[in-house]
Every structure is written in C-alpha cells, then in structure tokens.
C-alpha cells in the first residue's frame, strides 16, 4: 500500500511483543527516545498465546516507573493490530507522533546534551 508516515519513528523488530522487556523500554528512554510504543498482535491472537498480554504489562510497568521519575508515563504506550492492517499501523504512528509532540522532548536529553558540550 506504501502508505507514508513520519520518519521520526525508528522500528525495532521483535519476533513477538512478548520479547519486549521493561528494560528495553527504559534503555530506549535513557538513550534519548522521546516516546516508545509497542505494537502487538490483537489480544487473543498471539501466536505464542500470551506474548502481547505480557508486553502490555511491561508497558504498564514502564509507565509507572517513568511517571515516578518525572519523565512522564504517557510517553509509553501499547497498541494492538493484526499484520494486514497497514492503515491502522499508520494511524497509530500518527497518533503516537502527535502525542509525543505535545509532550515535547524527553526531558533528560537537555541535561545530557549540556554534559556532552
């Protein structure tokens, strides 16, 4: 379909969202990501039964931590769709992009940049 979406999103492919760990999400923020979203299969359709449910819990855990340390829990989110839903994939990409633009950059980037300089 070749539908376009923002180039600001970097895709990290995993065999199943069940592979995504809270540590992966946190490390992404540590390295300067402004937001992280996990796109899994539809709930109930996981090839490995529970992978996407596990991912959702880990996203929630990351949300709690990010909120507690002042980075903002809304920067992380879980979406579900099936593999043939390209338009929905793009819709979620836009939604996330919009959300992160509203929230602004990851607050740790500024101190990090200052330190580097």
């Amino acid at each position: 379909m070749r539908i376009q979406y923002t180039t600001d999103i970097k895709i990290v492919r995993v065999p199943c969202t069940g592979k995504v760990d809270v540590l992966h999400i946190l490390r992404a923020f540590e390295k300067g990501a402004d937001g992280v979203y996990v796109v899994g299969c539809m709930e109930g359709d996981c090839h490995f039964n529970k992978g996407n449910f596990r991912a959702r819990k880990r996203v929630e855990q990351a949300r709690g931590i990010l909120e507690a340390i002042g980075i903002g829990g809304d920067r992380v989110r879980m979406y579900n769709l099936s593999s043939s839903e390209a338009p929905r994939f793009v819709e979620y990409a836009k939604e996330m992009d919009q959300r992160i633009r509203e929230l602004g950059p990851n607050p740790i980037k500024l101190p990090k940049a200052n330190k580097a300089a």
Binding site: L23, L26, F29, A68, I69, I71, I108, P111
Partner: protein
Amino acid sequence: MIVADKKPIEEIIAEVKNFTKILLLGCNECVTVCEAGGKKEVGVLASALRMYFLNQGKTVTIDEVTLERQCDHEYLEEIRDRIDMYEAVVSLACGVGVQFMAEKYQATPVLPGVNTCFLGATEKRGLWTERCQACGQCILASTGGICPISRCAKRIMNGPCGGSTKGKCEISKDLDCAWQLIIDRLKALGRLEDYEKIYSIKDWSTDRAGGPRKVEREDVQE
C-alpha cells in the same frame, strides 16, 4: 525462600538523592526468584535512577553488580576492592543481605532496596505466600504439615477459632483458614482423631521472643 517485595521507586529516590556515586547491589538467590532484587531488577532500578538524576540535572554514577549471595562473607568480599568508589550502596537483597553488607563495610551507607516480607513459596509466578515464621521448634508433624503459626492470623495452636467460615479466615475471604487446611489434611491422612489432642502451651523462647537467635554447630565448624 525469603520473599521480598519491591520498594516504591520514590522511596528509593528519597534515600539516595544526595549521593553522586551509587552502587546497586543485587542478589542471585531468593530475591531473584521472587523478582524483587535480582540482576534484572537492579538493571531496571539503575536505568530509572540514571534518568531521574539526569532529569534533575545531576551527574551521578550508578553502577550495577549482582552477587551470588549477600548473606555469605565470600561473595560480599567480591566487591571489597571497589566499595570505596561509592558513597552509598542500595542493596536489593533481603534484610539479611543489607545488614551483612552494612556490617562488613562499616564506612559505607547501605540502604535497603526492597521490603523483606516473609518465608514463603511461589504459588505461581507473581504470587508468593507465607509458609513459615521460623519459630525454631517445628510442629508440622502434629498439624498435618500445615503451619498454624505462620498461616493462622491468630497463630492459634488449637484452632480453628469461631471466625472460620466456609474454609476462609475471618480477616479475609481470600485467605484460607489454616485450621480448615489442617483438618482437611488430617482427614486425608486418616488422622482426624489427632485433632482432639490439645497442643499445650508453646515454648516461644526459640522464636523471636527469646531474643536474636543463632544456630551454632560445632560439628561443621572449622
């Protein structure tokens, strides 16, 4: 195993916020199994603390080490050559590990990274329940293998009390009545007549009541 639970991250931040060189020290034993203080949890906490301090505009070193155990000298010795690099250690071991660290490294503040809860078992992932209060004089032989001291809310030795309803404890519908379990088990063992034996007044001197306890075994001492 010793079951611990995570401390809220806000509480840990309050403990460490004035330090600039911090070691997060995990433990590979019980707290790893109950997913509160192993290598993984050390990693998550380290990442969170690094971001917290960056966001505060502070330059803080957060290092991660996970030892085989924190309740044995030999493993704690592994960090002797680097302990002086840190202003504080957050130990994610149980209360035993935290204290053993503190005793060994007198000049370094050692802060607890978990809440130590009880001696228990993994019923399923994410659910740990109490089984033992380490009273020092095991009575399980007479109670069908179910401990009323750790599992009855009133640690009643001759139960159940009048609050036992439909197999549940008076304090919560989610909590099994230990004495119901004991009776069920005695029945399964064909020993229900044992129920009528009165358990006489317990000697609690081997419990916490007798003061800090020790087990000393000359046969295995060097």
